[in-house]
């Protein structure tokens, strides 16, 4: 009886030791688990902090490099401006344009590579240019393709638009020479060639004492030395808002952009000998009759 009691006591003691050891192991395991979790989670947080810092530095450095550069133009907005149906644009005719291109005699042809050239001189701060670029892109997309367009907001009147600064244009019918002469702060952005400067200085818009923005020279045959459009309906509008209104001909925005685009298309057709027929439709070429000699018209 006494031996059995001793055996039971020894078993109970062994059991107690095993339980204490298991408990100690569990505590140790739990502690290891927590330590491991802290190391891994804090490493992830540290990596995230480094990533955020790099992103902040990247944004700030890009901003200080060139604030006028803008961002790559939204493809959906470009799709909207370059695919306005004829059923929308043709009935608008010239729309509310306040001036049309004027014919010049003895102008300097700007041909290059055997093709006529359309010269556009604008400025990124300029609200008139902001509006007219929409029409230029709309019109020229009927003759070729733009790439590298940047999306900007004009510093005056805050109009969502594009910059031609880094854009290239490909067409078998004409060349496009788009210059942004000044940046958002009215400082010189792109240098003009002597020929461009001469053409710009030679043809001055009504009421202007010197060369102004925007300026268009259709291969030395027609010029548009002032604004075609009233920017008032566009003030404070984002590119998305403008693009969304393009297909609704009841809006001032659609009438303005499509009207000016039709007029620009008609002038381009003049220098491409009305090619291609898909762009130079009768509805568009009929607007050519409105082009008066330089200095005699006001729209």
């Amino acid at each position: 009886m006494g031996r059995e009691t001793n055996k039971q006591r020894r078993q109970a003691q062994a059991q107690s030791v095993r339980e204490k050891a298991a408990a100690a192991r569990a505590v140790q395991q739990r502690s290891d688990q927590r330590r491991r979790a802290v190391v891994i989670l804090s490493s992830v947080v540290a990596l995230a902090v480094v990533g955020v810092l790099i992103a902040v530095i990247a944004i700030n450095s890009s901003g200080s490099k060139d604030t006028s550069k803008g961002t790559a133009a939204s493809q959906s907005i470009l799709d909207q401006v370059t695919s306005i149906p004829r059923t929308v644009s043709d009935p608008i005719g010239a729309g509310p344009v306040v001036s049309t291109p004027e014919s010049v005699t003895g102008g300097t042809p700007l041909d290059a590579n055997g093709k006529p050239t359309l010269l556009f001189i604008g400025a990124e701060f300029c609200p008139f240019c902001a509006v007219e670029r929409w029409s230029v892109i709309d019109a020229l997309s009927k003759f070729g393709t733009f790439s590298g367009l940047q999306q900007i907001v004009s510093s005056e009147d805050k109009i969502g638009t594009f910059s031609f600064k880094n854009a290239t244009y490909t067409s078998k019918y004409l060349n496009f020479d788009g210059k942004e002469q000044a940046d958002q702060n009215r400082k010189e952005l792109q240098k003009l060639t002597s020929v461009e400067l001469a053409q710009w200085s030679k043809y001055v818009g009504p009421g202007q004492s010197g060369p102004g923005y925007p300026f268009m020279d259709f291969n030395g045959t027609y010029v548009s030395p002032g604004t075609m459009l009233d920017p008032t309906p566009f003030k404070g509008k984002t590119a998305t808002e403008i693009a969304a209104a393009l297909n609704d001909p009841t809006t001032k925005i659609s009438q303005s952009i499509n009207g000016a685009a039709n007029v620009i298309t008609a002038a381009v057709c003049k220098i491409t000998n009305n090619k291609p027929a898909s762009a130079c439709t009768p509805a568009v070429t009929s607007l050519q009759a409105r082009f008066a000699p330089y200095g005699s018209s006001s729209g």
Binding site: Q15, R18, E19, A21, A22, R25, A26, Q29, R30, Q33, R34, R36, A37, I40, L41, V44, V45, A48, G51, V52, I54, A55, V56, A58, I59, N60, S62, G63, T67, T71, A72, A73, S74, Q75, S76, I77, Q151, T238, A239, T240, E241, A243, A244
Partner: protein, 157 residues
């Protein structure tokens, strides 16, 4: 074929991940709505570096020029609502546990890419998108912490 043992999870994970997922879902619904309504009512302060419109209308806002990033985010959060729900955590299902792990970790690759796009290519930050990124990061941390701090099997004495 070895039988998969249920994976236990700390209870706090249930009540952290689900509200986060619902918040992500809410922002994604808003961004998707704005995408299809032309961003007409997109509410976001604009400064030189913070500009939601710049980001949400950039060419990078569409995957392969066809799939809006906002829609991808919405699809992810719709599925995540089920995967991160308290019922999913409670079930202890190893399959759901691995799915949760995948839902927590894999989208972080997309987040890193989108932050890169905003910082380097678009050069603007969209606050709503940043909200989604923060939610996703917290989800990632929660799922990882829940796994690392999962209740251990009792040690046999």
């Amino acid at each position: 074929m070895p039988e998969l043992r249920p994976i236990r999870a700390p209870r706090w994970a249930w009540w952290v991940t689900w509200p986060l997922t619902l918040a992500g879902l809410g922002i994604s619904i808003y961004l998707t709505y704005e995408h299809y309504s032309g961003n007409k009512s997109l509410s976001c302060p604009a400064s030189s570096h913070v500009d939601c419109l710049k980001v949400t209308t950039s060419s990078q806002s569409m995957i392969f020029n066809h799939i809006p990033v906002a829609v991808v985010g919405l699809a992810y959060f719709v599925l995540a609502v089920f995967v991160m729900s308290p019922w999913s955590w409670k079930s202890g299902s190893p399959l759901l546990a691995w799915l949760r792990m995948a839902f927590g970790i894999l989208p972080m690759g997309m987040v890193v890419y989108l932050v890169y796009v905003e910082a380097v290519q678009v050069k603007a930050i969209c606050l709503w998108c940043t909200g989604v990124h923060i939610v996703q990061f917290l989800l990632f941390m929660s799922v990882l912490a829940a796994y690392l701090l999962r209740p251990l099997d009792p040690i046999e004495s």
